[in-house]
Amino acid sequence: MLLIPCPWCGPRNQLEFTYGGDATVKRPLPDAPMKTWLEFVYLRDNPRGPHQELWHHSAGCRQWFKVLRDTQTHDILASGRADEALPGATA
């Protein structure tokens, strides 16, 4: 069972959360070239190791936030607000 540290509510059971995917992809401006859009919509680094990802506390405070989690061990290394850089995150 993952114990996910919501920045607002503290550590909570994973059942309260919905996964939101890779947090490093940034939505391009509408006039960005197609290649940039392709990368945003489809391509992922998919790292084996620390992964910055979005989670939604959907059955709690309903905030979106960032988590740094190791995809090999499922260890959660850090969490924080969606609009701030996470400590220890590389990108």
Partner: protein, 417 residues
């Protein structure tokens, strides 16, 4: 040695002490004409068909661990070709046809059992979609039969077909030729057959880097040293993105963990494969008597080959909603495998944008049943340096060109397929 009733009898007389090893364990050579990364069913099948259909003689399969220790040994053994979209239907039907004669082809009993795959239908909308898919299958020459609730209730007495069921059953779409295959035997059979054709199957040899010069493959760095080759095929399922990154490529793939589990073994209680798309659950009974079941992903990126309890609880609750009598059984084992989830839910069997580099991956949930066709078409693509019509649609470029093959219409969310 050819396996037969006579070889069995001969070896019985010597107390089975003189069976030869099924394959060699050679040290890697300095150079190969083609190298396949990944010693699961897909990689071994690719090497086998390269040697058999395309007469390549100097081939190696590199496996970081032991043969079939990844998803080949972790799936729920189901084979089927009940797809709606043409590229998927033709591809998986080709695969099912190869399954039907694979034991004879490999001289190894893979225990293909055409016990049928039944997709349950739980609502009128579900019924429309299933009949439409069944019609599409029949137009593509694939067997499909719609069963009414009463027919299902007579056939599978322990399935709760009552109107009071938590998810009432309205009917089901059956593919009679679908069924199960003994999964380990697939890796062993292909390894033995490839070895007999001279393929070097090298275990405990992890690829740690891919050497590229002027846009062309030069060889691979491994834990057993550098090996030269100009043709490199990737067949590593959940690690596709990890290995492709060694060649500087980003793929439209996320790796997710999918769990499966078995109950304690019991006498025969279920003689087909039952699946439900509405609760996302699938179950069959192995020849050992265990009920083999699985359901959804854990829904977060993972390379861990193990998952968490909420996904298991969902599978078990779906099982009990459909088969209340199975509540008396204990779960014996659970495990996880890493799924290479693509952004449209369909695989990539194609040349990559590095000369000499190909991949067969992006299997999502569907890799095991694709094994023979994946190997056959990957071998064709490597040997001819162009795709076969059956895998021409499964390119990497389809994501840029708008040619997605999205069976569910789920959109670009890897974990939604």
């Amino acid at each position: 040695m050819r396996y037969s009733i006579f070889s069995l009898a001969r070896n019985a007389l010597s107390y089975h002490e003189h069976w030869p090893l099924a394959w060699r364990s050679p040290a890697p050579k300095a150079r190969y004409d083609a190298i396949i990364i990944g010693g699961g069913g897909h990689g071994l099948a690719t090497a086998y068909y390269l040697a058999k259909e395309h007469a390549l003689s100097n081939i190696a399969v590199l496996e970081k661990s032991w043969l079939g220790g990844g998803n080949t040994g972790r799936n729920t053994t189901i084979v089927r070709s009940n797809y709606h979209l043409d590229p998927n239907a033709h591809f998986y039907e080709f695969s099912l046809k190869l399954w039907e004669s694979l034991s004879q082809e490999l001289n190894f009993n893979v225990m293909y059992s055409a016990r049928g795959v039944l997709n349950l239908v739980h609502s009128p909308a579900d019924m429309d979609a299933s009949i439409r898919r069944g019609n599409a299958m029949r137009l593509n020459g694939i067997d499909a039969k719609f069963l009414t609730r009463d027919e299902i209730a007579r056939w599978i007495p322990n399935l709760d077909c009552s109107p009071e069921a938590r998810f009432p059953i309205h009917g089901g779409l059956l593919q009679p030729r679908g069924g199960t295959v003994r999964h380990d035997a697939v890796a062993w059979g292909y390894a033995r057959a490839a070895d007999a054709l001279g393929v070097d199957v090298i275990q405990q040899c992890e690829v740690t880097g891919i050497r590229i010069d002027r846009g062309a493959i030069q060889g691979v760095e491994t834990t057993q040293g550098f090996i030269t080759t100009t043709k490199l095929g990737i067949a590593v399922a959940g690690h596709s993105g990890h290995v492709a990154a060694m060649a500087g490529l980003r793929l439209p793939i996320e790796s997710h963990v999918l769990q499966a589990m078995v109950s304690e073994p019991v006498k025969p209680v279920l003689n087909t494969v039952v699946t439900s798309g509405a609760v996302h659950f699938y179950i069959s009974q192995s020849d050992k008597g265990e009920l083999v079941m699985g359901g959804d992903l854990d829904f977060y990126n993972s390379y861990a080959q193990r998952g968490n309890l909420p996904a298991i609880e969902l599978v078990v609750s779906a099982c009990l909603a459909l088969f209340p009598s199975f509540g008396r059984l204990k779960l014996m084992r659970t495990w996880g495998g890493i799924m290479d989830m693509t952004m449209d839910g369909s695989p990539i069997i194609a040349k990559l944008p590095v000369k000499g580099l190909t991949m067969s991956g992006g299997w999502c949930y569907g890799g095991f049943k694709a094994t023979p066709a994946s190997g056959w078409l990957h071998a064709y693509t490597i040997a001819r340096d162009e795709p076969h019509p059956l895998n021409a649609a499964f390119t990497l470029e389809r994501f840029a060109e708008g040619g997605m093959i999205d069976e569910k219409g789920a959109g670009p969310y890897a974990w939604a397929h």
